[in-house]
């Protein structure tokens, strides 16, 4: 079942061009160059219940704008959003009851007070009954270990602790959908690891549907079954990470160290370079396995050591971003 349905979503911003200097400022009082910029340009997708989806793209691609429209903060210029069959624009209060949202750059916790006070307030706002509240706090404490710092004023928490606090605050009313906007931004390696672990656990335990925007591809690799890439307001990729890797970088590289310099060719692999006793082969995953290649070559010359190089995820995503931009340019030129 689709818990989120987005069709032909568009968000247009008015952008005023300012002229230079005092003369320009005076002129702009009377005449304005207004141009309309499409931050989100005709986006459609569906998300199934219980899925974890990464929504990624370069800065200014339209990620946050989309999330803000999904969560009812902004009005779309056109297009339709249905969350659980309800439009967040028409019935905001009903939709957000079922939504947990965390913005990594912003906190909903009361800065001056102990963490627990914010939770008490949210309990009232979401009208969570005592039994459910106790149950949720207990479960969330198991995952996030918040009891260690629940009585500490928020301003004294570390960034990692604050993020855990924010995640708990967003989960208290057991929402079915969680929007996480850069949840690991600024966290150290350790804190990042634990936040990822928590997100995974929440998804497994409560079948929460999670949409994650991030610049950290480690998040994507470890958490998400599906990847939506957006660039210049348009979706340019939508699928699993493996699919994307297979399509963009179908090649792998095999580095072989022989005992003696050797120049051995193989019909299904390209010999990229030979340097003394080291040879580098490039091959397609779908044509031959690394094991087969090693075996074939070892028949000809004894192998000392092998190393296998996968394309780096960063490079793949960068290629995807560029491809999206390239496609846009070429359609514009036509």
């Amino acid at each position: 079942m689709n818990i989120i349905e987005v069709s032909h979503l568009v968000k247009e911003y008015k952008k005023v061009k300012k002229d230079k200097g005092l003369k320009g400022a005076v002129k702009n009082l009377f005449v304005q160059d207004v141009e309309y910029v499409r931050a989100v340009n005709d986006i459609s997708f569906e998300i199934e219940k219980g899925d974890i989806v990464a929504y990624i793209g370069p800065n200014g691609a339209g990620k946050s704008t989309t999330v803000k429209m999904l969560s009812g903060i902004m009005q779309p210029t056109s297009g339709e959003i249905l969350i659980n069959g309800i439009s967040p624009q028409k019935e905001r209060k009903r939709v957000v009851k079922n939504l947990g949202v965390v913005f990594g750059q912003r906190s909903q916790l009361n800065w001056n007070l102990r963490l627990g006070e914010t939770f008490d307030l949210l309990k009232r706002i979401y009208q969570i009954d005592d039994a459910l509240y106790e149950k949720n706090i207990e479960m969330l404490d198991e995952i996030f270990k918040i009891s260690e710092f629940i009585d500490t004023p928020v301003r004294q928490l570390s960034l990692g602790q604050r993020m855990r606090g924010d995640l708990v605050a967003a989960m208290l009313h057991s929402p079915e959908i969680l929007f996480l906007d850069e949840p690991t931004i600024g966290l150290d390696v350790e804190a990042k690891y634990s936040v990822r672990k928590f997100i995974k656990e929440i998804n497994e335990r409560s079948k929460t549907t999670i949409i994650l925007t991030t610049h950290d591809l480690g998040d994507v690799q470890e958490l998400c079954r599906r990847l939506i890439i957006i660039n210049d307001g348009k979706i340019i990729e939508d699928g699993s990470l493996d699919e994307l890797v297979d399509r963009i970088a179908p090649y792998r590289q095999l580095v072989i160290d022989f005992y003696r310099p050797a120049m051995i060719r193989h019909p299904k692999a390209e010999l990229v370079s030979v340097e003394e006793a080291r040879a580098v082969y490039k091959f397609r995953k779908d044509e031959i396995t690394a094991a087969q290649l090693i075996e074939d070559i070892s028949h000809t010359a004894p192998i000392k050591e092998v190393g296998l190089q996968e394309a780096k995820i960063d490079d793949i995503i960068r290629t995807a971003y560029q491809q999206g931009r390239g496609a846009e340019d070429s359609t514009a030129r036509q």
Binding site: K68, N110, N112, L113, L121, Q127
Partner: protein, 270 residues
């Protein structure tokens, strides 16, 4: 309906409690404000005394009635500062995307916004307000009875709503213009000028303006005139009740403007 009211009251109480707790974290700020406000009160009152001493009376109002009018004005000023001062930050909220958090919760945005920052420090404005008010009551020999108490409460509620509504109105303009600070300052000045002195000292057209179009005269002038029993009015309804009515209507209108503005809300860049 009843359940909904109970829900909103319980959240309002919780928000207020948290706001007070947060401000208690900084006790010295509170003390500083008490001192500053008392000084401000002494100066303000001395000005009035000087004016009345020099002119004898103002627009037909003697020193005693003016003291009472001034007391009501300062008191309603204190109340609006306690409940509505956060409206001054509305332009900031629009630019910085501060409404996001409220939009993500299943309650009215303006409701959350107003109660989130209940201004404990504003209570320090109430102290001089109450002192001047009681001084004024004593000067005009106001009889303490049910009718007078009710009229004063109506007036204060109406006055707070009218002032609050104008502030919300000015703040909501920030959805369109982004910066409204100058406008808010000007309105603040207007409040004080119109509510501290008898309206009769101003030219006729100003009186009409402040009665019907920008109904600031209802903050204190008309109801106080009524309470003090100065010249019988043509309307059989007590002015304090009309003040309250004007307050409710203006408040509703300003909330409406806020809602309309909210559709234009663009949040802030990530």
């Amino acid at each position: 309906m009843w359940k909904k009211i109970k829900y909103y009251v319980s959240v309002a109480a919780a928000l207020t409690r948290l706001a007070i707790q947060s401000q208690m974290e900084y006790p010295f700020m509170l003390i500083g404000h008490v001192l500053a406000n008392c000084v401000q009160w002494v100066v303000g009152f001395a000005t009035i005394k000087f004016v009345v001493d020099s002119f004898g009376s103002l627009g037909g109002w003697g020193y005693e009635s003016m003291a009472f009018l001034y007391g009501m004005s300062v008191l309603s000023h204190g109340l609006v500062v306690v409940f509505f001062i956060q409206t001054w930050y509305m332009p900031y909220c629009v630019i910085e995307g501060e409404y996001d958090m409220f939009l993500l919760r299943p309650m009215g945005v303006l409701f959350q916004f107003l109660f989130e920052d209940f201004n404990l420090i504003g209570i320090t404005d109430m102290i001089p307000g109450l002192m001047v008010f009681f001084y004024g009551c004593a000067k005009v020999h106001l009889t303490v009875n049910f009718a007078n108490t009710a009229m004063i409460l109506f007036t204060l509620t109406g006055a707070t709503l009218i002032r609050g509504a104008v502030w919300i109105f000015c703040g909501s303009l920030s959805f369109w213009t982004k910066s409204t600070a100058n406008f808010t300052d000007m309105v603040g000045e207007l409040f004080e000028r119109v509510s501290m002195y008898p309206l009769t000292i101003y030219p006729k057209w100003t009186q009409v303006l402040f009665t019907f179009f920008l109904p600031l005269a209802w903050i204190t002038f008309y109801p106080v005139k009524d309470i003090l029993g100065m010249e019988g009015s043509v309307i059989p309804v007590p002015m304090a009740v009309i003040s309250l009515g004007v307050g409710v209507v203006m408040f509703a209108l300003s909330c409406g403007l806020f809602r309309v503005g909210m559709y234009r809300y663009e949040s802030a860049g990530s």
